[in-house]
Symmetry: C2
Subunit: 321 residues, 2 copies
Amino acid sequence: MIIDFETTVQRLRDCDNVQILTHNNPDGDTLGSGFALLHGLRALGKRVCLQTETPVPERYAFLVPDDAMAEFTPQTVISVDVADKALLEKGARAALGDRVDLSIDHHGGNRIFAKETYVDSDAAAVGEIVFLLLTALGVPVTPVIADCLYTACATDTGCFLYSNTTARTHRIAADLIAAGADYVRLNTRLFETKSVGFIRLQQQCLNGMELLAGGALCILTITRAMLHDTGCSEADLDELVGLTRQIEGVRIGVTLKEKPDGGFKISLRTHDDIDAAAVCAKLGGGGHRCAAGCSFNGTRDALLQKLLPVLRDALKEGAAQ
Amino acid sequence: MIIDFETTVQRLRDCDNVQILTHNNPDGDTLGSGFALLHGLRALGKRVCLQTETPVPERYAFLVPDDAMAEFTPQTVISVDVADKALLEKGARAALGDRVDLSIDHHGGNRIFAKETYVDSDAAAVGEIVFLLLTALGVPVTPVIADCLYTACATDTGCFLYSNTTARTHRIAADLIAAGADYVRLNTRLFETKSVGFIRLQQQCLNGMELLAGGALCILTITRAMLHDTGCSEADLDELVGLTRQIEGVRIGVTLKEKPDGGFKISLRTHDDIDAAAVCAKLGGGGHRCAAGCSFNGTRDALLQKLLPVLRDALKEGAAQ
C-alpha cells in the first residue's frame, strides 16, 4: 500500500526494534539515508540496527557506526532506497523480503513490495526524504546525521551535477552544511580521490572504448580480468559508466560489465531524448529515463548482436522525436 | 576605498551609462556576474555595456546578449571579479585601468585599485555577490539573469565541489533554480561535455603516466604532438593537471606541457603538506601553496634531471614536517 508523508512520519514515531535494510551493492544514498535514519530513530529512544551482508565499500566505511549491529529481535523492518524486493541483499531477501513493513524510496518505478511504501520520486536521493522525515519528527540534525545525509544527497547527484538535482536538493544541502556536515572533507573523499587501480582501469577502458553509429554510441567493456588486474570492484565503476554519456556527440553510453559467473550487466546512460528505461525494458531490465540497466547471459558477441539493433532503433526513434 | 554592501547598493542605484569590465582570460564567474549585472541594471532603466577584447570562450558564448556593445559614452566603470588592475584586459587596462569607479570582487587579496571597492571574500563566486546586490536593488531575477548567476556560481565551485562552496552558495543556487535557471542544460554544457579529442588526450596521458618515488610523484607529459593529434588546446588541460593530485598516494602531481617553441611549462599540484610555490621558486617560478608552476627551456631528459632531485627533496621535507 502506498502511504503519504504524514502517515510515514506516524509510522516512524510508532515503530521500535527496527531493522533497516539497504539495497545490494550499497551506494552512498542507501547507506547514508539508512544510517541517518538509524541515528534519528535512536535519538527518539528506539533500538535500531543496520548491517550489510557484504562489506561496506571503503569509500563509505566512515558512515558505519561501531554499534550498528542488531542486539535485539527486530519487530519493524524498513528498507531505504530499495525499489524492488529483488534488489535486497541475498540473505535479507530470503529472510525478510516478504515482511518489509515500510519502504522509503525515491524510485518512481518502486514495485510496492512492502506492506507500506512511501515514494517521493521528486527526491534526488532518499537522503532528501529522510531529512524531511527527521525534521518532521523533530529530530535534531546532528553533525553525524548531516554527514550521512550530505553523503546520500551528494553521491546520488554527482555533487549536485545530475539532472535529478532540484532547488530542494540545494536547500537541503545548505541546511546540512549549516547543521555541521563536514562537506569539504566529504567532497574530497567522495569525489576527488582516485585509487591508482581506478586510474589504471580508466586507462584500460579508454584504450578499449568503441564509438559507433557515427559517434552517437559509446561502448565501454569492463572484464573480470580488468577488475582483477587493477584491484577495482563494482563500486568503482559508476564514474566510468557516467563518462560514456559525457562525450560530445554520444547519445547512448553503454557499459558492459562482465559478471563473476559469465554474462554481462549492461548500464545505459542517455540524455533526455532517449528513454534508457524503455530500451532496457526490451531486454528485461529497467531503471530511470536517463540511467537504466539490464542483464545478459552469454558472450559479448552474442550480447552485441542482440543489443546493437535495439540501440540503433532507439537512436532513430530519439532523432524522430 | 573599501565600501560596504549598503553603499554598493546605493552606487548601483545612482549610476548610469555603465561599462562593465571583466578580467582577462574571462571565465564563468567574471562573465556570468558581469552579464547578470548588465541585465539587472538595464532592468532599472540604465544604459549598460560589457564587451570583451578577446572572444568569449565557446563554452560561455551563450551568456553574451546581442546588444552587449556600447552605444553610448560610459560614465561609470564597474569591474567584476578583477583582483588587480593588471588582470584587466589589455585595452581596458590602458584606457580605463585608473578610472574604475567600483570594483565588485570576492578575492581577499584585491589590490584596491578602484575608486571604491566592495569585497566579500566569503563569496564562492562574484555571482553570489551580484545575486545579493540585485535582490537588494529589488531587481527581479529573470531566467536570463538566473542563467548568468548560476553559471558564475557553478563554475567557480566546480559544481559545488570545491572548498569555497558554503551553505549560502547552495541557498543561492536553490533560489536561482527556482527563478528559472536552466541548470540541467547548463550543467551538461559546463561540466558534462568532453570532446572526443579530450578523451583521446586523456587516454594518451594515462598511457604515458609515470608514478615515481613509491607512488608519491605522478608525472604526466603532454607533447605538442598529442595536442595536435587530438585537436586539444591549452585550455583543455586544467582537468588533466588537477587529476595528478587526485590519485591516492600522490603527494606531488607534475604536468609537463611542451611549449610551442620547445621546452616545457611545468605545473605542480600538491596537498597541504608540500609548498608547491616554494618548489617552483627554486626553478624560477611561483604560485600558490598547492598549485604552482615554472618553465624550462631544454629537453625532457634535461628537465627531469634538474626537476627530480628538487621534487625528491620536497617529498623528504614534507614528510619531515
